[in-house]
């Protein structure tokens, strides 16, 4: 499957040319960061959060609003908000075992309500051009892509090389067994959500830096794109199995297909359709592959 995709992509004229690659890299970076975050939630056995898209938007708003105090404080505020707000949901899910999907919907409604109250539905623009380091390119790569790469590497190191990461796998695989093995469920789940919030807030900040503004519409649909990437990558929807690297692969597969379609002259609309069909196909292939092994 991957081989076909790679060959297909490379055989497409113009695919390896720098502008389209750079555009691809930038566009997948935002979804990629959210997907890396979503991976932690899915792996920990809590399926998905419907609130990450709104958290991304809210972080972008707070970042933009915080810029009046300088870039540093703005970063801290944006990241801190996304991290803590999501971690609070994780606490409810982990400590009381509240249903993760209901909690995320409730959080979504509260977040949208607060944002509406505070901004009156307005966009917040960046007050100055101080965001250059967060956009542009570095070593020929879009900065956003470097952030995604760093997020994925850090995420994977946490999952594979720390006790906490192994605990996420254990809790996602079998919660009762994890408890009997001495794993603190609420710490692990809260930690997973905390990381998810952090990576989502990062995406929000990068996205608002690129557009020079923040608003609540920025993150619409990111929840579904992110969970699609997680599933296409082959992380099990009921948790316990998967990795950030797989998710990265999932993001790459989806985006590569979109670019190939674009280069072959398919309309934007056709790309949406193909994305859906491909997500469906890949999920089915994963299931077939699992049954044969």
């Amino acid at each position: 499957m991957l081989l076909i995709l790679t060959v297909g992509a490379l055989a497409t004229p113009g695919f390896i040319s720098t502008p389209s690659l750079a555009a691809l890299l930038t566009s997948i970076s935002f979804i990629g960061c959210v997907a890396v975050g979503m991976t932690f939630i899915t792996l920990s056995g809590n399926i998905m959060s419907l609130c990450l898209g709104a958290t991304l938007s809210a972080s972008s708003l707070i970042f933009m609003a915080g810029l009046s105090f300088g870039v540093g404080p703005a970063l801290a505020l944006g990241l801190g908000f996304g991290t803590l707000f999501t971690a609070a949901q994780g606490l409810l899910v982990g400590y009381l075992r509240a249903n993760p999907i209901i909690v995320s919907i409730a959080a979504l409604a509260l977040l949208v309500g607060s944002a509406d109250y505070l901004t009156g539905g307005q966009r917040i623009y960046s007050p100055e051009d101080s965001l250059v380091p967060l956009t542009g390119t570095l070593w020929g790569m879009p900065v956003e892509a470097l952030f995604l790469l760093a997020s994925a590497v850090i995420g994977q190191i946490i999952l594979s090389y720390t006790r906490f990461g192994r605990h996420i796998h254990m809790v996602g695989s079998n919660l009762k067994a994890a408890r009997a093995a001495g794993v603190s469920i609420w710490r692990t789940v809260t930690g997973s959500y905390l990381l998810a919030g952090f990576f989502t807030a990062l995406a929000g900040i990068l996205l608002s830096a690129r557009y020079g503004s923040g608003d609540m519409e920025l993150g619409v649909g990111y929840d579904y794109d992110a969970i699609a990437a997680v599933l296409v990558g082959g992380t099990a929807i009921h948790g316990g199995e998967g990795s950030v690297m797989r998710t990265l692969l999932g993001v790459a597969v989806i985006s590569a297909i979109q670019v190939v379609l674009l280069l072959y002259g398919f309309s934007q609309q056709m790309q949406y359709l193909m994305t859906g069909l491909i997500v469906l196909t890949v999920i089915m292939l994963h299931s077939l592959g699992e049954r044969h092994s």
């Binding site: 399926i47 998905m48 419907l50 409810l92 400590y95 009381l96 075992r97 509240a98 249903n99 999907i101 209901i102 909690v103 919907i105 409730a106 959080a107 979504l108 409604a109 509260l110 977040l111 949208v112 309500g113 607060s114 509406d116 109250y117 619409v220 579904y224 969970i227 699609a228 599933l231 929807i237 009921h238 309309s267 934007q268 609309q269 056709m270 790309q271 949406y272 359709l273 193909m274 994305t275 859906g276 069909l277 997500v279 469906l280 196909t281 999920i283 089915m284 299931s287 077939l288 049954r291």
Partner: protein, 325 residues
Amino acid sequence: MSVFKTITRESIRPFAVLSGAVVTLGLVDRGSGNFLSVATAFSVLQLFSTLGLVSLALGLSLVVRGFDLSVAGMLSLAGCVAVLTGATHPWLGLAAGLALGLAAGTLQGLVMTGLRIPPLGVTLGGLLTFQGLSYVLTEGQTIAYPNYDLALILTEPIMGFLSYRSLITLGVFLIVALVMSHTRLGRDVVATGSDPEASRIAGVHTDRILIGVFALSGFLTALAGVLLSYSLAAASPVALSDVLVPAAAAAILGGVSLGGGKGKPLGIAAGVLTLCILRSGLNAIGASPFVHEFATGGVLLVVAILDAPELARRLTSWRLRASER
């Protein structure tokens, strides 16, 4: 204390929350007539017609432990198909939309039972595919439906607060409620969601039930989509897709549990009405939109915490530790 217990009893809770919402808004309104008016009732029922069937579809899928994400895509897709095919013959558009919903739902059911894929994965693919398909069909544009008369007929007030559209919606709710409560099928649906393995051992064809529920879910959503597009005289791939969160919220308020086996059509109707009353009611008394979001979020959060399985254990544990000291 017993009053509290009655209110929190699960079968009654949706209706208690609903009456709570009506009473609260009525008190805030204090007889100024903005909230307790026929016009508000009409707008509540119009909202109900949009959200209700989607919520019913999603709720039924939740009863069998699925989570039909694809309803968000099907709502707009069915609308687009109906508008495109039904320009001259509305019935043809309706039939095309409904057939599509039924077929798509059946197909999703077949995939999840045949390949043993969790419903969420399949319907996520369905959501993205349906959305993509409606973008392709409309080329990303809002398309107008030339038959304005139909739109007027569907949304014309009957007795002040009803309309053909809301009557159809209410009728469908009634039929589904009767099927669920009075037929063997309804019983098997609840059994399948309650404990799939146990039901299979007892002799229920759980796979057929699952396929049937997802087919029905596609059908109901398609009906909602067609009615909505006809009454707006327009279809768009974008504008309607933001229905999933309120639909899920309404189903959960209506007493559906994500663990399966719990949830009744009339409860879901009460849940949807609660949300619609909050939205139109708050609108009518001049509250800002964010109040509605806050109210929805707050109620859901309380439901989530009250339903949390560890809540009782945590409380017992705290009490014991406190009494030890």
